[in-house]
């Protein structure tokens, strides 16, 4: 039928793996409450499958053959690849739909040269969102990746065009679909600076994102992002794709920079479908 839900959320491994180390437990629990609200909103939308636009971290793709954009096309996926004791998410098989993916991919290919993958092992970039959004793993997932790790990275305007292509693909199939973009805004993950967050930069970006200020969003350069938002900031591509897919104004439901132990400013937001 169409896209029935669109939103964004953060995905850091600390959100599950370091949950018991948090001192600011009130803010942590508020984050979890908003993620649960997002789960209920997706369920209430009637979505029959969930598209997760993610920025994976070398679980599947490496610099020997790095696609700018890739979509999963399988009936099931596995993950996470990380040590379960470290991530605190047990390995699981997640349902997919090769048929649905194939129809979406064919439509996306009308305007974007997307790669596809018939096997895909999730890392925290998808496993953490699913842990909160489909904790029973009972909703088929279409994994989508935008290379945010191995430069050269696709320009932001191509991430936007990819989001628009995803929207056209959603509207071309009979199923009701939800889509989330998952990434960080400013963060310096997996470095000695882990926990550093540029809250002002984050809030300016989120303001532009919620207002669908396309010109301002596409004006970020990777050099500016690296300086102000760290290498983790390259993941804004997933948020741009979600905004482009939604088309409508956003509502920022939750943001905090007060959980640096999670190594990212934690975000939950939804968009109107327009």
């Amino acid at each position: 039928m169409s896209l029935v839900y669109a939103g964004v959320l953060s995905h850091a491994p600390g959100m599950t793996g370091r949950a018991d180390m948090v001192e600011n437990t009130g803010v942590r629990d508020a984050l979890y409450a908003h993620l649960d609200l997002q789960r209920r909103e997706i369920e209430a939308s009637g979505a029959e499958a969930l598209i997760v636009v993610a920025a994976e971290h070398f679980a599947n793709f490496f610099m020997n053959n790095m696609p700018a954009f890739c979509m999963g096309m399988a009936d099931s996926y596995t993950g996470p690849i990380e040590d379960p004791a470290w991530l605190k998410i047990d390995p699981v098989t997640v349902p997919g739909s090769a048929d649905l993916s194939g129809r979406l991919i064919r439509e996306v290919q009308q305007t974007v040269d997307v790669a596809y993958a018939e096997e895909w092992r999730f890392d925290h970039g998808i496993s953490v969102p699913l842990h909160f959004l489909t904790p029973r793993y009972d909703m088929p997932v279409v994994p989508v990746n935008i290379n945010c790790q191995g430069p050269p990275l696709a320009p932001l305007h191509r991430a936007w065009a990819f989001g628009e292509a995803l929207r056209r693909a959603c509207d071309a199939v009979p199923e009701k679909l939800a889509l989330v973009g998952t990434g960080g805004i400013s963060h310096w993950p997996a470095t000695p600076d882990s926990g550093k967050i540029n809250e002002a930069w984050d809030r300016q970006f989120l303001d532009r994102l919620m207002r669908q200020d396309k010109a301002a969003l596409l004006a970020y350069t990777d050099e500016d992002t690296y300086r102000d938002g760290g290498q983790g900031g390259f993941e804004i591509r997933t948020y741009l794709a979600a905004a482009a897919a939604a088309g409508g104004a956003g509502e920022l439901q939750f943001y905090t920079a007060e959980l640096p132990i999670f190594a990212v400013g934690c975000t939950v937001a939804r968009f109107a479908i327009a």
């Binding site: 001192e23 610099m63 690849i81 310096w188 470095t191 600076d193």
Partner: protein, 111 residues
Amino acid sequence: MSLYQLQKVLFEMNRDKRVQARFRDDRAALLAEYDLTVEEAGALERADIGLLYVLGVNGQILMHFAAFNGIAWFDYLDMMRQGIVDHGPVRAGVYAMVGGGASFTEEEKHR
């Protein structure tokens, strides 16, 4: 090109339990299959997180390797900082340290 090979070892190890088993059982034979410098091979042999970080290994790859080696989170951060002290700034890639070695979490300061 060598950093590519160094990261490729870790990429394959992070996602494949068979490679992990080979690393545990006979890491010299495993590493001989890659085009590594003596410094890179030594860093891998010793699971030297600090030197691997300075050599430019992407943090997302290095973080998983540290977890595989049972290194606790704050110890992982300390090892990278010590790598900078011992070997100088990060030599390649986009995961350079920019915070001067400071901690950014109260949890780490209070441990």
